[in-house]
Homo-oligomer: 396 residues x 2
Amino acid sequence: MLQKATRRQSKDHNKGLVLRTVYQAGWISRADVARATTLARPTVSTAVAELIDQGLVTESGLGPSVGGKPPILLRVEDDSRYMIGVDLAESEFRGALVNLRGAIRRRLSLPIHELDGEAALSVVHRLISELVQASDRPIVGIGIGTPGLMDSRRGVVRNAVNLNWRDLPLGDMLETRHRLPVYIANDSQVASLAELTFGNGQNIANLIMVKVGRGIGAGIVLDRRPFYGDDSGAGEIGHIVVESGGRLCRCGNRGCLETLASTRSLVQRAQSMWEDTRPSALRNLVASPDDITTGVLVQAVEAGDEAVRAMVAEAGGYLGQVITPLVAGLNIHHIVIAGSMARFGKALIQPIQEHVNSHSLRTLAENTHVEASQLGQDIVILGAAALLLSQELQLS
Amino acid sequence: MLQKATRRQSKDHNKGLVLRTVYQAGWISRADVARATTLARPTVSTAVAELIDQGLVTESGLGPSVGGKPPILLRVEDDSRYMIGVDLAESEFRGALVNLRGAIRRRLSLPIHELDGEAALSVVHRLISELVQASDRPIVGIGIGTPGLMDSRRGVVRNAVNLNWRDLPLGDMLETRHRLPVYIANDSQVASLAELTFGNGQNIANLIMVKVGRGIGAGIVLDRRPFYGDDSGAGEIGHIVVESGGRLCRCGNRGCLETLASTRSLVQRAQSMWEDTRPSALRNLVASPDDITTGVLVQAVEAGDEAVRAMVAEAGGYLGQVITPLVAGLNIHHIVIAGSMARFGKALIQPIQEHVNSHSLRTLAENTHVEASQLGQDIVILGAAALLLSQELQLS
């Protein structure tokens, strides 16, 4: 029995190794898999045969001949499995069927209209059920990115203020209901995984991701693994006070980073200065302050509205104030800004970079680069899928 | 040949494992070593015999009998080897012979009188030579903690402003001259290792150490290993600007943390307020502002000088400003303050803790504890020894 179990484990291990090698190579011959893995040729052939049986790998074209017959190339069948990625965003819950390369095959959003507690939970269930039904491929599992404090190891939401969830065993509940493996992490932590797996971070070890939308959070990746901290709260930077006695924050404190650099705070400021504002790009875009959204402000900056640009730059300065100690403390070169504030591009990124440069040791700052993520609004969905890719399939 | 080499490696590996087990246990019988390591009894006995031959382990007393003969207990001979720990501090270079438990057996300080470049380097050589000569035990190696930016992997000092060292291959130079293994790291990073190995951090995974003396730096320990960052600069927090347009710093910038929270800045402020000061504890301690030192200010606070206490509290607030983003970003519970500012104890620690509490999310702050290191002024020497203990002896 023991020997059997051991043989089975080593077979599974070899199969996983072969799958990972094919996945990372793109196209590769059996002989090259054997060389890369140092597994014996017959072991590779057996594993490949099983992976082909399971539909995960296909034979796809011929490689260049090196004397004899040209070798058959293998590749991972990117759409052989789907992963369910879910973003419990503030205004709506978004989910998608994601293929093994991070391509979104089907998308679904359900508004939550200030729902919380049980009602919000039932929306999560509905979202997942509909995605499961919509899928014509086997599903790897469910990945969830949620705002708030998480205990990722146990899949428990410790505190999500907006949803009024406290110590909710979301992981167990979803697993019981949907009978699929479930992985949950904080949305900013998950976003950092997306950048590493499907974004510009595919070749780097360390990354600081700052997600700035209606809320603000960071995801810190060290040696290609998310760092969760002593109780999974790493990255909760949105409620650092950066203006003593400043505006009241929804957390109860005053002058938090979120009151000065979130999209919510930006829209509020643009609305409040509407009356004072001289004819500007912003006034050409909307008729009333009530129509101002983040999208409108992005357009205003693109149209050359200096007042809005100055507001965005100021938000960048406040973000820089919190990012600089992280840069100096950790000496990480890659700082990525994601979330809807990233849509401002250079107008936001440059002031952050300038703050870091002027507020830390030159030797540290000169190698530190702040940039906007290219993954757009799908970043949490993709990160939730990346969680499955690494935890459930060991593919990244 | 290959088989021989492999057998030799596995023998060395087993011996290391046995040594580590005895070291960590304090006192332990051969049978318990076998149980703890899952090595066969004869393998343990062979390894123990060799370790006794080398003088590293001794038989020391008898354990409680469990039926038969009481078992002979083994322990590591703490003074069988010495490690040379060196602290390239600002005003003097300090070194010591340290035993395997971090006890200092011999101490040596050489003043450096503003020496830099080659001259400072020759003081390092002299310090080490004298310690080597003073030792009547075999020496494990040389560990060095130095201020400034280091490339620890290559043993190169990238930039130590005060010593005027730039891209100095200190590791190679010392190894060639003294024919001993050399390990070098930044002094604050090394201090964090000391706390982990010989201080209060022996049972924790993550630690933020902030060393505040004439300079300010941090050492970040993650999963019990120092985190050096993308180019070994992690922890360079002393030159984060916390007061825009503030006092000129020796780095060329203005308002750096060091201009507001270092011992140097504190002494300068106490001197400059001397004239305005009403009769106070400070005036009872020294006759002239030129006699003010950090030690005098510590005494003044202990004697109830409210003006000095307020200055220390203000420094604590500035430190808190830089520590808070690290706490929120990393969610690390243990924050330890070391260096000569730690001598102010509660007068410094409490304002830092209060700043962290009031400037970050309550859920994060409530588990975060700021405390003063108990290791005193030997912390860098001990950390340099800890570097050898882990890198050269694999004992921690």
